[in-house]
Symmetry: C2
Subunit: 405 residues, 2 copies
């Protein structure tokens, strides 16, 4: 079975939008042991899309398209599919009613122009869109099922997972493979690699190793469950300390669950990360049980007035210093009356660096009751990378502290 | 002239890596009025890559590849290019010396296996890589220049901008075009579309319309400056209120620049957004001149103790209320001694909603000196979407307030 993803939209080729949909589809399909053989992007060009539908439908069994389902003049996926299938384009009532209902709910008036969006190929199969106005649809052409989904990632993701995958599983007998991702914190990739090499892994089991953002991720894939268990058990026993835990792929979620189990609370004081660490933690539903809040102390006046960092510390050591990080952590812990606190202060760049304190220098403080540890880091990369690495590293220090208890 | 981008790497099709390189190349090319006619991703498969090189080189004038230049067994771009061009694969001395120097600089010992990386097609043209060990290279095949670049985004970007673009400009006489992006806030895409349809735009001017994150973006491209001015003037006059302004693509940057010009400062009090608004603002270099800081008052105790929201307000109206939003804004403004303040409090979900206060209900307060306005919103979407929409909408309210003065 051959699968093709076709991402439709001039904005993708012009580079104003990054196509994240294809990667999402690819990673979802991987759960069934299949992967697209081709991913291709095409402009909003009638002739090109129509001839691609015709050509590709001879070569592929499943063609998944994203984009071009909206109400504007350059949304032409339905029209092109009808042309390729030599089918009639008609106003689809179910699609119309869905659109009407969704628009009304968000207070937008239905206009004549919206009708363009629900002109679909006659006899197409529909896929529901719980997050947007445009339903998905599919037609059969030559040997292919052509399934068209919206380009808005949230809409596409929900439709693909809840509607398209069940349809494909039924029709093509997709079987779920065992799919285990193991996350290891603060261990060198080469050490994990050496352990994996020492295990004889049978050829029906795929083992991929990736490193980045302070983590090593081992991906195990296959239908041979005992083999996958053998490998994962071995890794777990060797890297007990740094293993994030079964079912954990997200440090923030693990931090929250550990704090919940300990019945403890936390707060943050952020400078160069500007709220990013708080954002990571509060992105997890349920964070409110343990996360009290944080102070983004961007200006020194806030470090002094709100967090009680002494003026002489700021003057003698500067805001980017071990001393300041320590006072920030203890300051916010006291202010918000929490058991733990984390502080981050550094130079994200591109400006503000010096010989002595270069761009990328970041101090991270972790406080537990009366005890405070401060770690010095020098991160490479641009402003965004330094900020991201700082917030991720802070979660890592915190996890190591939490696991001690 | 037809251009094709070929992204090489199985990880792209399996969805474990998102291809951001193609979008970067597309957006750089757009400045010269050209765009790739095709973007395609291909697995690390010798046969497939070789036949693609041969096929595509008959159809395209420029083929830009990324990925597959590294030292590991699955890095096969050079080998495939040599096969397609029926050229010999030889150890390239300049590439070898560059690799050696870069490895030594980062303290990695040169190993025999590294040599694989510098086995390049004989007589290829080289492109420098200031950020990594693998040089780029190109060969001519049929009608095409095939230019191969590394897959690591930072390396590819530097090589493309500093080496490949100048080469293409010279060889193909690329001329810079007029390139105007217009951002409109909180206006439905269909309304902008209707206005564009009402203007007769000459065919030498390209007009693309995109919507997302509470914004509509209209992109005008071409060499016909009077025509571009005509369209942009029309849009500006119709959507005066919601137009972000010439040269602004980022609300956060505009907010910071207006505040700088007014010599005013700002602070935030965030609840359901958990630091996201602060993160947006501090993502802009130079934010420190106007942004003092913020309080992420996730727990009610922090709203009361740090921001001075009265207990009876929290008890009688709740944390998600107009009243609480107003006190949060005035509280943080006073605490951080700023001219302006913004507050956000709401229910991001998926839990915590009720009949009276549903998931998605968000109050946004904007304070200027003694004056405070609070806006009520009900946002659709999941937790992440509600948070994102809240922070973006807050920037919009703030911008409208700033523009009044």
């Amino acid at each position: 079975m051959r699968i093709c993803i076709l991402s439709i939209g001039s904005e993708l080729l012009e580079g104003s939008v990054v196509d994240t949909n294809s990667a999402f589809i690819g990673s979802e399909l991987a759960h069934y042991g299949v992967s697209p053989d081709m991913i291709r992007m095409v402009k909003d060009n009638r002739q090109e899309i129509v001839s691609l539908f015709i050509e590709l439908s001879k070569e592929f069994d499943i063609i998944l398209t994203t984009g071009g389902l909206g109400p504007t003049f350059d949304d032409i996926t339905a029209e092109c599919l009808a042309l390729a299938c030599q089918s009639e384009l008609i106003l689809n009532e179910r699609a119309y009613n869905h659109m009407k209902e969704m628009l009304e709910r968000s207070g937008v008036t239905l206009r004549k122009e919206h009708e363009h969006q629900v002109m679909l190929p006659k006899d197409c199969l529909l896929f529901n869109n719980v997050k947007g106005t445009a339903l998905g649809f599919s037609m059969h052409l030559n040997k292919a099922d052509i399934i068209c989904m919206p380009g808005v990632p949230a809409e596409m993701k929900a439709m693909f997972s809840d509607e398209v995958i069940p349809y494909l599983r039924e029709k093509y007998d997709f079987k779920e493979i065992t799919y285990k991702d193991m996350h290891f914190l603060s261990v060198p990739e080469s050490e994990v690699d050496a352990v994996i090499r020492s295990i004889e892994i049978s050829s029906d089991t795929q083992c991929i190793i990736n490193a980045g953002s302070g983590k090593v991720v081992v991906k195990l894939r296959g239908y041979n469950n005992p083999e996958i268990k053998k490998v994962s058990d071995k890794l777990k026993s060797v890297f007990k300390e740094s293993y994030l835990g079964d079912n954990y792929t997200d440090e923030a979620k693990l931090i929250i669950d550990i704090l919940k189990s300990q019945n403890k609370t936390i707060s943050f004081a952020e400078s160069c990360t500007g709220g990013l660490l708080s954002e990571y933690i509060t992105n997890v539903s349920g964070a409110s049980e343990v996360f009290m809040g944080s102070v983004v102390s961007y200006d020194n006046s806030v470090k002094h007035n709100v967090l009680n960092v002494p003026d002489d510390i700021l003057m003698n050591y500067g805001a980017v210093s071990e001393e300041c990080a320590a006072f920030m952590a203890s300051g916010v812990k006291k202010l918000m009356k929490t058991n733990y606190a984390v502080s981050i202060t550094g130079i994200a760049g591109p400006n503000g660096g010096s010989e002595e304190k270069p761009v990328g220098l970041v101090y991270i403080g972790v406080a537990k009751e009366e005890e405070i540890k401060v770690y010095k880091n020098i991160f490479n990369g641009d402003r965004q990378q330094v900020r991201t690495k700082s917030a991720k590293k802070a979660m890592l220090y915190l996890l190591n502290l939490l696991k001690e208890y």
